[in-house]
């Protein structure tokens, strides 16, 4: 599941394998604290975040990524590039926060809703926020996302 998730976001098997390695390196250390009731949700979110971070750092390195031909890839890249204060957290603090089930970053919420097609209710359930909380988080992103995904950003 993790590999499939990373591959969908990164669009490249080798990059996805590398990202999956990152996800499980973190899990090796934190597995005792995993919420066993819904592990796939957590794994999915971590994989999403790791992949977004990869896309973002790759963008910094190579400014001409070929995302223009693929609307979904362009949307994912746009979300990856969005400023997110949680991005400044180190990997450890980030994982700590995730395992404590605190609200997920806006970028991950945006991917779940705009890219994966989860409804606001499903997204809220996945990330532990209210529907209004998810809506509020997404409000600030709509203008920019609307340029790429007017349907999704409605």
């Amino acid at each position: 599941m993790v590999l499939r998730r990373c591959k969908r976001l990164l669009g490249d098997e080798e990059l996805a394998l590398d990202a999956t390695q990152d996800v499980f390196t973190q899990l090796i250390r934190h597995k005792e604290r995993l919420d066993t009731s819904a592990p796939s949700s957590l794994l999915y979110r971590i994989a999403t975040r790791v992949s977004l971070n990869r896309l973002r750092s790759d963008r910094r390195r190579r400014t001409n990524l070929p995302t223009g031909e693929d609307p979904e890839a362009a949307l994912i890249q746009t979300i990856a590039d969005l400023p997110d204060t949680s991005e400044r957290l180190g990997a450890r603090r980030l994982l700590d926060r995730l395992f404590q089930r605190e609200p997920e970053s806006t970028r991950v919420i945006a991917v779940l809703h705009y890219v994966d097609g989860l409804t606001l209710e499903e997204t809220a359930s996945e990330v532990g926020l209210s529907v209004s909380g998810v809506r509020k988080r997404l409000r600030g992103l709509r203008e920019r996302l609307g340029e790429l995904a007017p349907e999704a950003a409605r």
Binding site: M1, V2, L3, R4, R5, C6, R8, A16, L17, D18, A19, T20, Q21, D22, V23, F24, T25, I28, R29, K31, L34, T36, A38, P39, S40, S41, L43, Y44, S57, R60, R61, G90, A91, R92, L112, D116, G117, L118, T119, E122, E126
Partner: protein
């Protein structure tokens, strides 16, 4: 027209993580959309990954998951593809050897080659490397032992290149190369060798501690039954 069933819900159905009510609802949506084959595709994908990467699933599951953590097994099997990059199985298998023998014979080697158009370049301790460099890691021991290769970058992020081997080996090349990212300052690679099996979490935690340390050259704190060999690549900042 209804929205396509999100991948996450299909994955959860596949993993048996939905309540009976949710599972029935998702299955009904898939059926209505004529997309039940997405479930079958996940099963096929899992089998294909397990076939390609069986050793890793075994390596990472140690100790065997039990009770509430049983879920970790399938999750790790699915993820094993990612760790194939850092896994290679023993090239030479033989009887375990005491760590003293390793020390007495000396010369545990962590060999790093930078792969480039002009061919592989052997990297020395302290040599400069940069974001995007592709590296090939090889470990060579004077006597068979359990070994692992990890690194920690200038941001304190730990990477497992080779999880601890289940069996003693004398030489091992990590199957896939590794691309340095943009983390600043350095990437410190560590070869760990031990006569006994090593817990991956212990090694990761040791490197995370030095990653958080303000002492850039601090050595990982580990039992003296583990032989540690380091090779650091420096990453000079932009001029």
């Amino acid at each position: 027209m209804s929205r396509r069933v999100p991948d996450l819900l299909v994955e959860k159905l596949h993993l048996g993580e939905l309540t009976p009510t949710e599972a029935a609802r998702v299955r009904a949506r898939l059926e209505a959309d004529g997309e039940l084959d997405r479930l079958a595709a996940l099963e096929t994908s899992d089998r294909e990954l397990a076939r390609r990467l069986p050793p890793l699933a075994v390596a990472i599951q140690r100790p065997a998951p039990t009770g509430a953590r049983r879920w970790l097994a399938p999750a790790l099997v699915f993820a094993s593809a990612g760790l194939l990059l850092v896994l290679a199985w023993p090239l030479i298998m033989s009887e375990p050897s005491p760590l003293d023998a390793l020390r007495a014979k000396g010369g545990a080697q962590l060999i790093i080659h930078r792969l480039g158009a002009a061919g592989p370049e052997l990297m020395a301790h302290g040599q400069a490397a940069r974001d995007g460099d592709r590296l090939q890691l090889t470990a060579r021991l004077p006597a068979p032992a359990h070994l692992a290769i990890l690194s920690v970058d200038g941001l304190g992020v730990v990477t497992v290149h080779q999880p601890p081997t289940d069996a003693p080996v004398r030489e091992l090349q990590v199957e896939s190369s590794f691309v340095l990212d943009a983390a600043p300052h350095h990437e410190r690679f560590f070869l760990f060798a031990s006569a006994a099996p090593m817990a991956p979490a212990m090694l990761v935690e040791a490197l995370e501690r030095i990653g958080r340390s303000r002492e850039p050259d601090r050595a990982p704190a580990l039992p003296d039954t583990i032989l540690v060999h380091e090779l650091r690549l420096d990453k000079p900042g932009p001029k």
